[in-house]
């Protein structure tokens, strides 16, 4: 039947991308429908029971500022919180939490169910209907046709999903959930390029059969910090993880059974992630390593299942059991669910705009693993951007685009739409060229204005953040204009604090730049310096201590912006530009960059080609100006 209620936005999928897309679209006030294969797995974690981690923590916090749910959800359901890289500079601090997977997805479902403007239905979408280059609806396996103006597709690993355990092969979208076998054909017939990727997961072990005493304990931070700037009450447990090691026997077992690995027997030919290799890959490629770390992580506060991080495998069940039992502490281990590899369809993301809208079909947005990424956080951050833009498309508002100099989300999307990906794409801090500025700690400070102006943040929240910002600036100015003098008391104190004495009148900012200094120490030197909340102290310290480097990055950003601001008109005809090689022309026509800056990031587009483009655009621009004058 043609369903009588017409929706503005339909979100296909209830994974991490789908949840954020559906929530934000409904929160922005447009009539939204989520269609997903299995309601009980809304917000499910297909793989590791953790949110955040290096560079991913940044994404979670950005999603939070843009009005998303992931940060709030983990703050309510985390089992252990940790800030990674605390011993290194603040630019690379990253939050991570172990999650209670069950509690996580239940709470997410609860939030969705309590969201205005949002309907949720368990149905599998088989077809996307488009007319005249515009989306008009979807058809499901039940034969229902839903009409809408915009669709966000977030199908994760489900499209033509195929699971491998040893030499056995099953059709599935994840563990034992049914795959979506028709949707990618529909996307193909809409003209999209679809190809395959693979990933894998680890066996889940029974905690009752693990000798934890033989393993090293890895607790979370004693003073856990929540992800969301909105979280006020925060009281979560600190459940430990454990560290185990493979050994030479483990490696031998794996090497002897490589013929049982579909990765090595040629059954799976698609590309998997290099940063998250299977244990087979690790043992083969890093033959010289005598041991590999395995992290044993709780999945659920109330369950025995333990996730064995570092053991992604597609080896057969028997081999899995054998190599597991070769490890210290796991001699008697029982497998509850085996590890497996999964192969699935994804859409080449260079066919998307920075809004995640498909270039060739208005109203059709793609987000999450379908775009070749991997990871919950990568999915969520795309989900929110696609959801916002789908709603804005309905509301006929300007697109919401996050740039590389603003957020990791911007880096992620720009990389995807500009370079595409050959392996499942994961975020790294090194992908963000301005990472000294794009820190986790200042996420809300740097993005509040953008979020608020787009209507993604309430006025109260914005004003609160703005106040913090002003306080930071004020404090910095104060430190720059408050002086201490080289008298006996000051110098005595300086020596006490393990610092050098001063010989001339010195401002406090200068003292702060000394490695050993922090705000509290300053207050010992300058007695009347007012106390401020610890977050302000931290930001002031970072801003002053890194001033030189931060200024350098700000300059780089200015330069970057100059090229981003040179827009290339949509539908620009590259064949008119003399002097570009066919290779370069081909690439430019395929990617259709929105700006000169983006063009320069396309692999294979030479600096010389960019120079030519710049001059050409200038020429036609001048001509236009002349003509209108």
């Amino acid at each position: 039947m043609i369903y009588p209620k017409k929706y503005d936005v339909i979100v296909i999928g209830g994974g991490h991308a789908g949840c954020e897309a559906a929530l934000i679209s409904a929160r922005l006030g447009v009539k939204t429908l989520m269609l997903t294969i299995f309601l009980d797995s809304i917000g499910a974690m297909s793989c590791n029971p953790a949110i955040g981690g290096l560079a991913k923590g940044h994404l979670v916090k950005e999603v939070d500022v843009f009005g998303g749910e992931m940060a709030r959800n983990i703050d309510e359901t985390g089992l252990q919180f940790k800030i990674l890289n605390k011993s290194k500079g603040p630019a690379v601090w990253s939050s991570r939490a172990q999650a209670d997977m069950t509690a996580y997805k239940l709470r997410m479902k609860y939030v969705l169910e309590h969201q205005n403007n949002l309907d949720i239905k368990q149905e599998m979408v088989d077809e996307i209907v488009a007319e005249n280059g515009k989306v008009i609806g979807v058809k499901t396996h039940l034969g229902n046709e839903y009409l809408c103006d915009s669709v966000v597709v977030t199908t994760g690993t489900f499209m033509k999903g195929k699971i491998f355990i040893g030499l056995n092969e099953y059709r599935a979208g994840r563990a034992w959930e049914p795959p979506s076998d028709k949707l990618s054909d529909s996307l193909r017939s809409l003209g999209l390029r679809v190809s395959r990727l693979k990933t894998g997961t680890t066996p889940r072990l029974d905690a009752r059969t693990i000798d934890f005493d033989a393993l090293m304990v890895q607790p979370g931070d004693d003073e856990p910090v929540p992800f969301s700037f909105k979280t006020t009450k925060f009281n979560r447990p600190n459940m430990p993880c454990y560290l185990a090691y493979t050994n030479e026997t483990t490696h031998k077992i794996i090497l002897q059974n490589l013929d049982q690995s579909p990765l090595y027997s040629g059954m799976v030919e698609s590309v998997g992630p290099r940063y998250c290799p299977s244990i087979e890959d690790k043992v083969v490629k890093f033959f010289e390593k005598k041991q590999h770390q395995i992290f044993l992580e709780p999945q659920d506060e109330n369950s025995s299942e333990i996730y064995a991080d570092g053991l992604h495998t597609s080896l057969g069940y028997e081999v899995q059991l054998k190599f597991l039992r070769s490890m210290k502490g796991l001699e008697k281990v029982e497998i509850m669910r085996p590890g497996y590899a999964i192969e699935y369809d994804f859409v080449d993301p260079t066919q998307l705009k920075h809004t995640l809208e498909v270039k060739s079909i208005r109203g059709l947005f793609l987000a999450g693993q379908i775009n070749g990424t991997s990871g919950y956080e990568e999915a969520a951050s795309q989900g929110i951007i696609a959801g916002i833009n789908a709603a804005f498309y309905i509301q006929k508002r300007e697109p919401f685009i996050v740039n590389r100099d603003e957020a990791y989300t911007g880096v992620l999307i720009d990389d995807l739409v500009t370079k595409g990906t050959k392996e499942p794409y994961r975020m790294f801090t090194s992908r963000a060229e301005y990472r000294l500025i794009l820190r986790e700690d200042n996420t809300h400070l740097r993005l509040a204005k953008k979020a608020y102006s787009a209507g993604l943040m309430s006025k109260e929240q914005y004003l609160l953040i703005d106040e913090q910002k002003k306080k930071i600036e004020e404090t910095i100015n104060k430190l720059k204009t408050t002086y201490v003098f080289p008298n006996e008391r000051v110098n005595k104190k300086l020596l006490e604090l393990g610092s050098e004495i001063i010989k001339t009148k010195t401002d406090l900012a200068k003292l702060m730049r000394r490695t050993e200094f922090n705000y509290d120490k300053l207050r010992e030197i300058a007695i009347d310096l007012e106390d401020v909340e610890s977050f302000i102290k931290q930001e002031v310290e970072i801003d002053l201590k890194y001033e030189g480097y931060l200024n350098l990055q700000k300059q780089q950003i200015e330069k970057f912006k100059k090229y981003e601001d040179m827009r290339i008109p949509e539908g620009f005809d590259y064949s008119l530009v003399g002097g570009l090689s066919n290779e370069v022309k081909g690439k430019l026509m395929e990617i259709r960059p929105a700006s000169i800056g983006q063009a320069g990031r396309i692999p294979g587009v030479t600096p010389a080609a960019i120079a030519i483009l710049v001059v050409y655009l200038k020429k036609i621009n001048d001509k236009r100006i002349r003509n209108t004058a």
Binding site: L54, A55, L84, N85, K88, G89, P90, A91, V92, R274, Y275, C276, P277, D281, K282, K285, F286, K289, H292, Q293, F295, D309, G310, H312, K419, F428, T429, S430, R431, E433, R435, L436, Y546, Y549, L552, Q553, G578, G579, S581, N582, E583, V584, P603, T606, P607, A608, A609, A611, I612, V615
Partner: protein, 449 residues
């Protein structure tokens, strides 16, 4: 910026050979070929066609072979072709005129190379080399430029680039994978690698200075009191009688210059007015100019007369030379009359006789050795001012990084410095991208929590 209109020129490199070549490149050049060539299309890439070039009336100008190169695989990256004519220079010129008449324009010097560079066919250092090949004045220079064009220098930088990538990946893996037990190399080893990179960059800078010597040449200035034989020496070295020789002290009153070539090094030699106090206005101006020449010179040849004792003016010259130049060659002339019975405080001293032309070879060797002190020329490169600037910047950043490592600085900041280092290498040959770094990272480290 350039347009891709059709350009043409006689490929001068072949001018001396029995056949001459007219090179044509640009968008639509193959249609142009069709107009002037008896063999009609299809033209395939890298194929050679036999036929005749005809004028607009169809009259034959020359019997030729035409090699066709198609975009993007041609030297310039554009559609292009080369006409090999066997006639002499005049036929060659007729063919060129015909090409121009059919719609091409004369290429500016180096324009083919510029296009090749703009189309990403060659990197900056190679482009630099092509220009040098065109302007090479000696075989030695040609050899050096050709090595550079062949990418010998690029591959050297490439090796340095790999090392930088490795160190960057080392740094990033510490940041992005803090929980991995990655057996990363010791800080000390990283430090050594950095020191080595710096050393190599410095060596390249040095060899680019040799490149300047080969391609730009050196300036020599002869000083000495009047009548020691300065003009005579200039005449011998340049093989001319440019400078007037008399036995009247103070003959040369202004700077006279001449050019010659020692072992492929282009030299300009300046014969100066003997530096002496004088009341003669004109000679005085000459003396002032001599002093100026002296400052500009790469090498100063301080000349003395073996047949006389050193006097105050000679010691004045010695002082002056030592003070104003760090490359002084002492020359004792007129050894045919008498062996010198004095000592000079220079590292390099050559005894000659301009009259008998003895010792001049030795002097030439000494000059050559003091500007290029290398076992072989294989390391010499030619870089432009920007590239040299980038090298210097790279060396400075190496220093900063060495300091970073010694202090155990924050890896996030080290990362910033590495990016600057990579940027400076970029400026010399090409880009280091994020992807390159990640590639290196995944190749070297087993990452996979």
């Amino acid at each position: 910026m350039y347009d891709d209109d059709i350009i043409a020129a006689i490929a001068t490199g072949y001018a001396v050979a029995a056949i001459g070549i007219v090179r044509v490149s640009g968008r639509g050049s193959l249609e142009l070929l069709e107009k002037i060539f008896t063999k009609k299309p299809p033209y395939e890439h890298r194929k050679i066609y036999y036929g005749h070039i005809t004028d607009s009336n169809g009259e034959i100008i020359d019997e030729v072979l035409v090699s066709v190169f198609k975009a993007p695989n041609s030297y310039t990256g554009e559609d292009s072709f080369e006409i090999s004519c066997h006639g002499g220079l005049s036929v060659l010129n007729f063919v060129l005129e015909r090409v121009l008449e059919a719609g091409a324009r004369m290429a500016q010097p180096g324009e083919f190379t510029k296009r090749a560079f703009l189309n990403g066919k060659i990197d900056l250092s190679q482009a630099e080399a092509v220009e040098k090949i065109i302007s090479s004045k000696s075989k030695r220079a040609l050899f050096i430029a050709q090595r550079q064009l062949a990418g010998k220098f690029s591959s050297k930088i490439e090796k340095i680039r790999e090392k930088i990538l490795f160190l960057m990946a080392e740094n990033e893996v510490i940041i992005d994978h803090p929980e991995e037990d990655i057996s990363s190399i010791e800080t000390k080893e990283k430090l050594n690698m950095l020191i080595d990179i710096k050393k190599q960059l410095k060596a390249i800078l040095k060899s680019s200075q040799y490149g300047d010597v080969i391609f730009e040449g050196v300036v020599l200035a002869i000083i000495g009191k009047p009548n020691v034989g300065k003009s005579s020496l200039l005449n011998i070295l340049t093989g001319t009688s440019r400078s007037i020789v008399t036995d009247i002290p103070g003959t040369t009153r202004d700077v006279v210059s001449g050019n010659f070539n020692i072992k492929g090094i282009p030299c300009t030699i300046l014969d100066t007015a003997g530096i002496r106090e004088t009341n003669d206005v004109i000679e005085n101006i000459g003396v002032q100019r001599s002093k100026k020449a002296l400052k500009e010179a790469d090498i100063v040849i301080a000349m003395f007369d073996a047949s006389n004792m050193l006097d105050e003016r000679d010691t004045g010259i010695i002082d002056y030379a030592v003070k104003h130049s760090n490359k002084v060659i002492g020359v004792i002339n007129k050894t045919d009359i008498k062996k010198a019975n004095f000592m000079l405080p220079f590292d390099k001293i050559v005894e000659i006789s301009c009259k008998n032309e003895t010792g001049v070879d030795k002097l030439e060797d000494t000059i050559a050795d003091s500007v290029i002190n290398l076992e072989s020329d294989t390391d010499i490169v030619s870089l432009n001012a920007n590239q040299k600037e980038s090298l210097k910047k790279g060396i400075d950043i190496c220093d900063k990084l060495i300091d970073d490592f010694k202090r155990g600085a924050d890896p996030a900041l080290i990362g910033v410095d590495f990016i600057s280092l990579a940027d400076s290498i970029d400026d010399i040959i090409g880009k280091i991208s994020n992807e390159d770094m990640l590639d290196t990272m995944f190749k070297k480290f087993c990452i996979g929590k």
